[in-house]
C-alpha cells in the first residue's frame, strides 16, 4: 500500500497554499482531485500538476459553500477507489467592517468558512472512519486563537472550524484515521494581497504547503505554520484583556 500513489482530494484547490501543497504531492506521484469553482483555473493547475509528475490530476468544478458535501465527496472517493488525504483549504477573509454592518456579509463568511467547511469535514470523517485510514487536513488560522477587533468574524469562523476538527481528530484517533488542523500565520497569497508591507513574519505559500504535506503523514493534531506561531499565539492569548483592549490589533 505504501507504494501505491497517494489519493488526494483538495477542496478549494485554487488557493495558493493548497496549490503549493499539491505541487509536492504531484512530484511524489500522487493522484489528485481538485475541487473549486473556477474551471479555467482548475484546468491550469491540473495541467501543471500532471507535468510535475502527478499520476492523475482531475478536477470537479463546484461551489464548496453550497454543494452537497456528503454526496459530492462520496462520488469523488468512489472514483478514486478510496482516499488518503482530504484537504479543506478554501476560505474567505471577508471585510470586518462590512460584516459588522451587513448581517448577510457576516453570514457569508460563516457559511463559507464554517458551516460548509464543517459539512465537508464531517463527510470526510465518515469516509475515513469507514476506511480506518487516511487523514483529514483542514486549514484554520491563528486568527481563531483570540478574537480581535480587526478580524473577529473571520476569526470566529476559523475558531469554530478548529473545535470541530479537534473533535474529529479525537474521534478518528480511535479508528485508525487522523485529522489535523493547520494554523497558518501571515501568508503571502492573493487573500492578503491588500497588505502592502510584508515583514519578517510573512511566509511564502511554498513553506506552508510543505508543512501541510508533512502534517498529512504524521504529527498534529494542531500544527502552527510555521511553528513559531505556536509561541506568538501563546503570548497573544496570555495578554490580559485590560491591556489587550488598549491595542488596535
Amino acid at each position: 500500500m505504501t507504494d501505491a500513489a497517494k489519493r488526494i482530494v483538495i477542496l478549494g484547490a485554487t488557493s495558493a497554499i493548497a496549490e503549493a501543497a499539491a505541487r509536492r504531492w504531484a512530484k511524489a506521484g500522487g493522484r489528485l482531485v481538485l475541487v473549486g469553482r473556477n474551471t479555467e483555473r482548475l484546468e491550469a493547475i491540473a495541467a501543471d500538476l500532471a507535468v510535475r509528475g502527478a499520476a492523475a490530476a482531475t478536477f470537479v468544478a463546484l461551489d464548496c459553500a453550497s454543494a452537497d458535501a456528503e454526496a459530492e465527496l462520496a462520488t469523488i472517493v468512489a472514483d478514486l477507489g478510496g482516499v488518503d488525504v482530504v484537504l479543506v483549504a478554501y476560505g474567505v477573509l471577508g471585510d470586518q467592517r462590512t460584516a459588522e454592518t451587513t448581517p448577510q456579509a457576516a453570514a457569508e463568511v460563516f457559511r463559507t468558512n464554517f458551516t460548509s467547511a464543517a459539512a465537508w469535514c464531517l463527510a470526510a470523517a465518515n469516509v475515513l472512519e469507514r476506511q480506518r485510514s487516511g487523514t483529514l487536513v483542514v486549514i484554520g488560522s491563528v486568527a481563531g486563537d483570540r478574537g480581535r477587533l480587526s478580524n473577529y468574524v473571520y476569526g470566529a469562523s476559523k475558531a469554530g472550524l478548529g473545535v470541530l476538527v479537534q473533535g474529529i481528530a479525537h474521534r478518528l484517533a480511535q479508528q485508525g484515521a487522523r485529522a489535523v488542523l493547520i494554523k497558518p500565520g501571515f501568508v503571502d497569497t492573493p487573500m492578503t494581497a491588500a497588505v502592502a508591507r510584508k515583514g519578517l513574519l510573512w511566509a511564502k505559500p511554498a513553506r506552508i504547503g510543505a508543512i501541510i504535506v508533512k502534517a498529512a503523514d504524521k504529527g498534529g493534531p494542531v500544527v502552527y505554520a510555521p511553528g513559531i506561531w505556536r509561541w506568538i499565539m501563546l503570548v497573544i492569548r496570555l495578554v490580559p484583556a485590560s491591556l489587550f483592549h488598549r491595542t488596535k490589533l
Binding site: 485554487t14 495558493a16 473556477n38 479555467e40 483555473r41 491550469a44 493547475i45 495541467a47 501543471d48 507535468v51 510535475r52 497569497t189 492573493p190 494581497a193
Partner: protein, 421 residues
C-alpha cells in the same frame, strides 16, 4: 504593483485605469531601466509559474511566462532535455528571457532564445492572442526581444534540445593575448558547442585581452541530474567600496589568471557549475559595495571587431577603472526573428564596473563613441544610460516595434530612448 495568480486576470490588469501605464516584470535580473516603470504600474509575472504541457518525446514545452529557467530545468533535465540556450544565471523568468531575446555560450550554434520559440501567448490591447513565426508574424517579431513593450507575454511555447548528459566536458585554456583569443575562438566554434572567454581587463599592451578561454561539449554519459537551488557560498556583508579598487581587482585578476595559467585543464562539470557560476554565490553583487555596479555590454560587427575590441580594452586598461568580470564571445550567424534583438554576427564584450559615479559614466561615454563608430550596439538588458540617438541607430527597426507597442504599456527605458529630442 499587481501580482496575478492566474492568467485570466491579465487582460483586466493591463486595462486597469488606476495606473497610467503598465509593464510586465519577471525576476528583475535586468540591470538597467527596462524593467522599471516610474510613473506607471508593474505587473509582477512571477506568480504565473505553471507548466502547461511538456512532451517528453519531442521536447516541446509550454509554460506560463513567470516560471524561472531554474524551475524549468528541474522538470526537464531528468528526462534528457535542456534549454536551447541559457544566460549566465538561471534566475530569470522565461518571459523576461524572451523579452530580451537572451543569448548564451552556444550562440554560434543555437542563436538566441527567440530562435527556439514556437509560439507565444500575448495579452495586447486587452486581448489574449496567440502569435508565432506564422501567426501575426510582425507582432511576434516585435515581441521577441521587444522589452515587454508589445504587451504581456502570457505563455511561451519553446522547443527544448535533447542532451546526452547533465554534465559538460569542459576545457579551460589560458591564453596570453588577443591574437591568441581569436585563433582559439575560430577553431573552437567549429569543434565546441559552448565557448566564452574570461578576460583580465587590467593588463594592457602586449597582454591586452589575455585571459582564460573555456569551451565545452555535452558529456555523453547518459546521466541526468537536475541541480538544487541550495547555494553553497554567500557574500555576507557589503564590501566597503574601497575594497574593490584598482589594486584589489588587479590582484584578483592576476590570481585568477595565474590559477588558470598553471595548466590547461579539462574537466567534467555539472551544467549548474558551468553555466551558472555566479548563482552559487548568493548576493555576489555585494562584492561591489553599496553603490553597486554598472554593466556595459556591446556587440561589434565582424570585419573591424578585432581592432575595435582591442581599442575598447586598451581604453579600459588606461582608465584604471577596474572591471571585475569581463567576458568576450563571438556570436554566430543565426539570426533571431526579433526586431530589437541584441545578438548579431560579430563579437560581444560584457563588462561590469564598480560604480564610481561620474568617472565611470565618462569612461562609458568614451566606449560608446568607439562602439558607435564601429557600427556596434549596446545590450538594453544591461543598459540604463545609452543616449537615445545611439539606441535608434543601433536598433534601426525600432519604429516597427513602436508601431506594435501596446498603448497601455510603457517603461522607463522606452521613455528614455524613444523620446524625440
Amino acid at each position: 504593483m499587481f501580482r496575478p495568480a492566474f492568467r485570466d486576470q491579465l487582460p483586466a490588469a493591463t486595462q486597469s485605469n488606476t495606473v497610467s501605464s503598465v509593464l510586465a516584470t519577471g525576476l528583475l535580473r535586468s540591470y538597467g531601466d527596462s524593467c522599471l516603470n516610474g510613473p506607471g504600474g508593474l505587473i509582477d509575472m512571477t506568480g504565473l509559474d505553471r507548466l502547461i504541457a511538456f512532451d517528453r518525446t519531442t521536447g516541446r514545452l509550454v509554460v506560463e511566462a513567470g516560471i524561472s529557467l531554474s524551475d524549468i530545468l528541474k522538470i526537464v533535465v531528468p528526462h534528457g532535455w535542456f534549454l536551447p540556450t541559457t544566460p549566465g544565471t538561471r534566475f530569470v523568468s522565461i518571459g523576461g528571457a524572451v523579452a530580451n531575446d537572451v543569448h548564451g555560450k552556444n550562440h554560434h550554434r543555437a542563436g538566441s532564445i527567440g530562435c527556439s520559440v514556437r509560439a507565444l501567448g500575448l495579452v495586447t490591447a486587452g486581448e489574449r492572442r496567440t502569435i508565432g513565426p506564422d501567426a501575426e508574424a510582425a507582432l511576434f517579431a516585435a515581441t521577441i526581444g521587444g522589452l515587454g513593450l508589445t504587451g504581456i507575454i502570457e505563455w511561451v511555447d519553446l522547443q527544448l534540445v535533447p542532451v546526452p548528459s547533465s554534465r559538460l566536458d569542459v576545457e579551460i585554456i589560458p591564453y596570453g593575448s588577443l591574437d591568441e583569443f581569436w585563433a582559439i575562438a575560430s577553431e573552437s566554434v567549429v569543434s565546441h558547442e559552448h565557448t566564452v572567454a574570461w578576460i583580465d581587463c587590467m593588463s594592457g599592451g602586449a597582454h591586452t585581452g589575455r585571459g582564460a578561454f573555456t569551451r565545452a561539449n555535452w558529456a555523453t554519459d547518459g546521466v541526468y541530474e537536475a541541480h538544487s537551488d541550495a547555494s553553497w557560498k554567500a557574500v555576507p556583508v557589503e564590501f566597503p567600496s574601497i575594497a574593490l579598487n584598482r589594486l584589489t581587482v588587479s590582484a584578483f585578476n592576476e590570481v585568477y589568471f595565474r590559477a588558470h595559467q598553471l595548466q590547461r585543464r579539462r574537466q567534467l562539470q555539472h551544467y549548474a557549475t558551468y553555466f551558472y557560476p555566479l548563482d552559487a554565490v548568493s548576493s555576489w553583487n555585494r562584492l561591489y559595495g553599496r553603490r553597486g555596479m554598472l554593466q556595459y555590454q556591446c556587440v561589434i560587427p565582424p570585419g573591424g571587431d578585432r581592432g575595435v575590441i582591442r581599442s575598447l580594452l586598451d581604453r579600459i586598461a588606461k582608465s584604471g577603472q577596474a572591471s571585475f568580470l569581463a567576458v568576450l564571445k563571438t556570436f554566430g550567424e543565426r539570426t533571431s526573428p526579433g526586431l530589437l534583438s541584441f545578438p548579431r554576427p560579430g563579437s560581444t564584450l560584457a563588462l561590469d564596473f564598480p560604480n564610481r559615479g561620474v568617472e565611470t559614466l565618462a569612461l562609458m561615454r568614451t566606449l560608446d563613441a568607439i562602439v558607435a563608430e564601429a557600427g556596434g550596439a549596446l545590450y538594453p538588458a544591461k543598459d540604463g544610460r545609452m543616449p537615445a540617438p545611439m539606441f535608434r541607430q543601433s536598433f534601426p527597426r525600432w519604429r516597427e516595434v513602436a508601431a506594435c507597442k501596446d498603448p497601455r504599456v510603457n517603461s522607463d527605458f522606452w521613455r528614455r530612448v524613444s523620446l524625440d529630442d
